[in-house]
Subunit: 112 residues, 2 copies
């Protein structure tokens, strides 16, 4: 597992189960048992995923004795989003150029 913050976040997001857990937690806090219910995996397997998410700061777990609810934390997602956002201009330019190319094809011009 890499040590810089952003790498830890991206590594944590690189798993469909972990992303599904985050999607569930975006709806509200919930217990580990409830979180585990929709997945066809053992509770220890789910707990392992939760640990990865916790280490990345993507979730926190409450300290209430019986019910230790898991909670989604916004900051790492926001940072990962900001990093990707830098490239928005890049992909939008690409799409603009594709639009232009297709328009040129339609009007019978030689794409330049």
């Amino acid at each position: 597992m890499p040590h810089d913050h952003l790498s830890t976040t991206f590594a944590a997001l690189a798993d469909p189960t972990r992303r599904a857990i985050l999607a569930r937690l975006a709806l509200g806090e919930t217990s580990v048992t409830e979180l585990a219910a929709p997945f066809e995996m053992s509770l220890p397997a789910v707990t392992k995923h939760l640990k990865v998410l916790q280490r990345a700061g993507l979730i926190t777990q409450g300290r209430q004795a019986q019910w230790r609810p898991c909670k989604l934390e916004a900051k790492p997602l926001q940072e990962a989003g900001s990093w990707i956002e830098q490239y928005r201009q890049f992909w939008e330019q690409r799409l603009d150029r594709l639009d232009e190319y297709l328009r040129d094809l339609q009007t019978g011009q030689k794409p330049g």
Copy 2:
């Protein structure tokens, strides 16, 4: 390495060298040798990172015999960005609530 597309993208982004390579390529196509220059690592080590990026579809490499330029591809970044974007509402609500809380503190109201 996971098999779904989004997981492969996030796993490829989970490394500072690979992110630096993408940042360089956002400025324009370049050769592997040029790409490797700023990094204190062997050419094979850089090539290994490039293979991970290629497998994720984040870069492509030209087929010109001498100079096989690497090129940034927008689509996987855009998809990863869209996934994270779903959570924007979530973190913006959090910030709104924090704003409200701080405003309440300033005006001497008991935060509700």
